[in-house]
């Protein structure tokens, strides 16, 4: 797994090393240039001194040179060198220590601007050479005579000719100093890099510590205990969004786990009652088998209990398949009026005994995109809910209209007041307004199944209750593209009132 800390350390350390290296090189170059410049300046001064000491005495070139004033050219140990040429390359003079076999390099030099170059000195030392071209100035009148010249005559120049002088000295001291500076720079650079990387590693560790602490805190969370949050005291601002999102995730997980727990608890609870019934029936029937009338009734009861459990299991499986996306559903135009009538026919017998008339106001030919079988289950559950939980004596109204490309169906009935919390929990599995199992036929899964199926069919499902108590379920889905005609007002013949109760 990639480590941000490692990667940051690597990148920053690489950058740091590069910067240090560039800085070191720059310092090295600057120092070398400066020191070489100093050496060159000294050599140039000497070359110019030689030029100043050189005169043209009527065709004779004289150098006013006294070895005692310039002992560096005379000494045996580590001497400096000079050499004079005429501009045609004829050697005029060389310092005493410069053997005839060893010429100094004679680079092309501009007048008054010496050229500098590195060269191997005759004694194999590394050296620096300054080469200056100049024209010897004429001797002033009265200055010496050919018979008694001021200086050493170094050559004959039939006309005023240019002269080139090269001055050389070793650069070993300079190189040693530069090497020393280089070594120091390298040592300091390595130390700086090492300390820098260590500081970087430490700073990154300190920076990432809150994340480690959060990780440890998350690790300490008890998966089985809801309501836990990451506190992350002292976490920096940059980490706060992560903590907030983590806590938001924990809250959502709590909610999901709570729902799951309630669901599991409800399933267990729903099964406890029929199991208690079966066990009681079995215990009493086995103990007193001679009570034939009772035993016969017990068998009928067992049948009813088994039917109820079967229904519960079927509903749970359907719900699980819908929620898990495993329930196949097709979408094709379904005639809404026929679907409502079929669903109501299935539910009307169940709701018998409650004086609930049914008003159907769905235009003939109105169609909706749905899976016919699943839409019928949805409608049956919704109508059953209306018939069973509606106020006795109030009607169940079913009205559908087409609006543009959508079809809206509303099922309304008068009902006991529901709170906003009740409305939001209507589709929770096993939720009932009255917690008691008032009706064997309803485990509280009908609306949960309706919600899961409508979601599968891409039909919107909404519940609302008017202040007067009228409870409305609204279904809204796509009209088939082929049905271009709008719903419009229904024909009076479309309205049908079906008495629910025979009483």
């Amino acid at each position: 797994m990639p480590s941000v800390r490692r990667r940051l350390t690597f990148l920053l350390a690489t950058g740091f090393v590069a910067l240090t290296a560039v800085a070191g090189l720059w310092v090295d170059r600057a120092v070398a240039a400066h020191a070489t410049g100093e050496l060159d300046a000294a050599l140039a001064t000497k070359a110019r001194a030689f030029a100043a000491l050189t005169e043209n005495e009527r065709g004779r070139i004289e150098l006013d040179y006294t070895p005692t004033t310039m002992p560096e050219y005379e000494r045996e140990d580590r001497p400096e060198y000079f050499q004079f040429w005429l501009d045609d390359g004829t050697v005029l003079l060389r310092s005493r220590r410069l053997a005839p076999a060893h010429d100094l390099p004679r680079a092309s030099a501009q007048a008054a601007s010496p050229a500098f170059l590195d060269a191997r000195l005759p004694d194999r030392r590394a050296g620096r050479v300054a080469v200056l071209a100049f024209t010897p100035h004429a001797a002033a009148p009265g200055e010496g005579t050919p018979d008694a010249p001021d200086g050493e005559t170094i050559g004959e120049a039939p006309a005023v000719r240019g002269v080139v002088v090269a001055v050389a000295r070793d650069r070993e001291a300079l190189d040693a100093m530069l090497a020393s500076i280089r070594t120091t720079l390298l040592g300091v650079g390595i130390a700086v890099v090492l300390v820098g990387v260590l500081l970087l590693w430490w700073a990154l560790a300190a920076g990432f510590r809150p994340i480690d602490e959060i990780a440890a805190e998350v690790g300490r969370l008890d998966a089985g205990r809801p309501g836990q949050r990451v506190e992350a005291r002292g976490a920096p601002r940059e980490v706060a969004p992560v903590v907030a999102q983590l806590n938001s995730l924990l809250a959502r997980l709590d909610e999901a786990m709570g729902r799951e727990r309630r669901f599991t608890g409800n399933v267990a609870h729903e099964l406890r009652t029929p199991i208690a019934e079966l066990r009681s029936i079995a215990a009493v029937g086995t103990r007193w088998p001679g009570d034939e009338a009772a035993v016969e009734q017990f068998f009928r009861d067992v049948d009813v209990v088994a039917g109820r459990m079967e229904g519960l299991v079927a509903d749970l499986l359907l719900l699980a398949r819908c929620q898990g996306g495993a329930e196949p559903a097709e979408r094709r135009p379904v005639a809404l009026r026929e679907a409502v009538e079929t669903a109501w026919a299935g539910e009307s017998t169940r709701a018998q005994g409650r004086d609930v008339p049914f008003t159907l106001d769905v235009p003939e030919g109105l169609r909706i995109e749905a899976d016919p079988g699943k839409l019928e289950i949805v409608l049956r559950n919704l109508l059953s809910n209306a018939a069973v939980h509606g106020t006795p004596g109030s009607e169940v109204r079913c009205v559908a209209r087409r609006r543009g490309g959508r079809v809206r169906l509303e099922i309304s009935n008068e009902a006991e007041p529901l709170s906003a919390a009740d409305l939001s929990r209507l589709t929770d599995p096993f939720w009932r307004k009255d917690a008691a199992r008032a009706s064997d036929a309803h485990a509280g899964l009908g609306l949960a199944i309706a919600a899961a199926l409508t979601s599968l069919l891409r039909i919107d499902l909404a519940f609302e209750q008017a202040p007067g108590g009228t409870f409305t379920v609204r279904l809204e889905g796509d009209a088939p593209a082929a049905d271009s005609a709008p719903g419009g007002a229904p024909d009076p013949a479309d309205r049908a009132t079906l008495p629910l109760s025979r009483s």
Partner: protein, 221 residues
């Protein structure tokens, strides 16, 4: 011993009533909370078996109202709610016992008998009356080594008189505790039952353990 069963499951009411009657209990069964509260307040039940999830009025409200009205009847809660806090709440609201569904029928009966014993201040399920040994947990009556064969009604009379041992039990009270609906029986029927019981319990020469206090009722000393 008279029991009121309040449970919304018709099938559970039916099987439990049948079984409990066979065990010698007089059972009245109702299916909703309001009816249960009314019956428990008015009737003379030894024990009320109360479901918690009831239509009309939930079981805990029934229990609270019952205790608020001063009723001291023993209440056994029989509920599918099995969490500790639910059981604690039930017991704190005044239930004497709590049994979760599903349950063993025998355990229910044993708990009912324990509650009855507690009601009448007896600890042991076995009563020794002269040469008679009555084991209420087994519903057996032994005279020496010999078993005495009693009908459920006769046993119910003996059971109740033993529960109230030392006290004079009026015929009306005996009638109330023998039948779920007192109108089903009569003072004469009680006399007939007591007469038959005495005949079965009498041993040569020994006096009957059930004595009559004229104008007051019956007593087992």
């Amino acid at each position: 011993v008279k029991v009121l069963l309040v449970d919304d499951s018709e099938r559970l009411r039916r099987s439990l009533s049948t079984g409990l009657r066979h065990c010698g209990f007089a059972v009245e069964a109702v299916g909703d909370g309001e009816q249960g509260l009314a019956s428990a307040r008015l009737g003379t039940y030894d024990v009320v078996i109360l479901d918690l999830m009831l239509p009309g009025m939930d079981g805990l409200t029934v229990l609270r109202r019952l205790r608020e009205s001063g009723s001291r009847v023993h209440v056994l809660v029989l509920s599918a709610k099995d969490r500790v806090e639910e059981r604690v709440e039930g017991l704190q609201l005044g239930a004497d016992d709590y049994l979760t569904k599903p349950f063993e029928f025998d355990e229910l009966v044993a708990r009912l008998r324990a509650l009855v014993r507690r009601k009448y201040g007896t600890k042991s399920p076995v009563h020794e009356v002269g040469p008679l040994r009555v084991d209420t947990s087994r519903r057996s009556v032994l005279r020496g080594e010999d078993a005495v064969d009693l009908t459920p009604s006769e046993y119910a009379v003996l059971d109740y008189l033993l529960a109230r041992r030392g006290s004079v039990v009026p015929k009306a009270e005996l009638l109330e505790h023998l039948y779920a609906d007192a109108s089903q029986g009569s003072a004469n029927a009680v006399e007939v039952l007591v007469h038959q019981l005495r005949r079965k319990l009498e041993v040569d020469g020994t006096p009957t353990p059930i004595r009559t206090r004229r104008g007051h009722g019956y007593v087992i000393d």
